[in-house]
């Protein structure tokens, strides 16, 4: 026993080294499974405030781009106003709300204060949190396209899993024929993603539009994802893999909208009931 202790004391650096490496790797592997993460992240106050202060400075240098994107969006929204649409008096007017006449989606504007694009798993930090009504699993979009989904919220900050994250999942559809597929990011180019498991896409052309699908549960349907650059058939299965250029420029996102899906809870509860009942 004595010699055992003296052995440990003599080689304490090796044991200390192994212990610290074990702790680090434990953090790595528990963190990757982001829902079980327990230790403070950049949604905590210290790092969040540093990023926020920096964001305040940086804002001034991007006013021109921000103005441009706001003007574009304003004009797009103006085009959707009732006055801008010529209604055919013979047919009934088009309704934008759901069948029961309630608001289906609402949008919370937020500012990006932390962002990365060159890691294999990228996250975005926003300057709003649970105090402003943001909860986990909300979709995040910009006026140009999709951004990601909220994975962690503190009272004044929230962290978004970017589309540029290897674990990001979303079902999408090709606009012209509604062929469904699934987004997967390979972790290399911040401007392109793959759409996998597309069955029977029909005739495709470069530049075809890809939109969010109807069944994502958190993203509103028909939000722009990107445009097709090339595609090929997956050998060994009947599926096609598409390479898509993202419409969102992840290097330059500054203002985003967090999407609240008002019927999300009801839908989840119903779907979980079916899964639990094990039909």
């Amino acid at each position: 026993m004595r010699s055992f202790f003296s052995f440990i004391i003599r080689h304490y650096t090796v044991f200390l080294f192994l212990l610290l490496e074990f702790i680090s790797l434990y953090f790595v592997f528990t963190y990757n499974n982001y829902q079980r993460t327990f230790f403070i992240n950049s949604a905590n106050n210290l790092t969040g405030n540093v990023l926020n202060t920096y964001g305040n400075f940086q804002e001034y240098f991007q006013l021109r781009e921000v103005n441009d994107s706001l003007i574009n969006e304003n004009s797009r929204l103006r085009a959707q106003l009732e006055e801008s649409i010529l209604f055919d008096t013979a047919s009934s007017p088009i309704s934008v709300i759901d069948t029961s006449g309630k608001q289906l989606y609402s949008y919370i504007p937020a500012q990006v204060i932390g962002n990365s694009v060159s890691e294999p798993n990228n996250f975005i930090t926003l300057n709003k949190g649970s105090n402003q009504g943001i909860t986990e699993n909300m979709a995040v979009i910009t006026s140009n396209g999709i951004v990601g989904k909220v994975v962690k919220v503190s009272s004044n900050f929230s962290v978004v899993m970017s589309v540029l994250h290897t674990q990001f999942k979303l079902s999408v559809a090709i606009k012209k024929n509604n062929a469904m597929g699934r987004i997967m990011w390979e972790g290399i180019s911040p401007t392109h993603v793959s759409i996998i498991q597309v069955s029977e896409p029909g005739q495709l052309f470069k530049g075809d539009t890809i939109l969010t699908g109807n069944n994502s549960g958190i993203f509103p349907p028909n939000i722009m994802v990107g445009t097709l650059t090339d595609y090929k058939k997956d050998l060994g299965s009947n599926y096609y893999n598409l390479n898509v250029k993202l419409s969102t420029n992840f290097n330059a996102i500054k203002y985003v909208y967090v999407v609240r899906y008002h019927l999300g809870d009801e839908r989840d509860a119903l779907e979980n009931e079916v899964i639990d009942a094990d039909y």
């Binding site: 680090s24 790595v28 540093v50 890691e119 911040p190």
Partner: protein, 175 residues
Amino acid sequence: MQIINWILRIIGLAFLILFQVLVLNKLNVSTYVHPYIYPMFIILLPFNMPKWLLLPLAFLTGFSMDLFMLTGGMHAAACVFIAFIRPYLIKFYTPITGYESVSTPSLSELGVVWFTLFTITTIFIHHSIYFLLQVFWLNDIGYLLLKIIFSTLISTLLIVIFAFLFSSRRVRKKL
């Protein structure tokens, strides 16, 4: 004197981390180039530092980086590893004259060549572990190797420039 030295070191570390988070991480030059300069803090620690202090200090350095970058413990793992092999590297790179009058790995007293070699080896090991943990599977080994090599070169260049800037004018003349 010792205390002033340590205060300067901690201020230096805070500067390195802020520079890393607010400048380098936002550059996005290419997916192959992602430099990390904060290991400079570990490189510049005194030679005779006891290991029971060196290893936890390296862990904390890496972990503070992890908090900013949301990387779990990847930086901590890489930092603890370079702290562990540091004494062996120091022994391996012993100059002919030995380390008699030198207490820290400084650019001025050990020369640019020694400092660059020591830095590039440390950074190469740090980046290899970090990028390996980050990618985690080896299906694209060419991409991984190129990323490690390019990032190591840029990081080393930046660290040597920083070490040069922080040394006093008297020392700069001597070089």
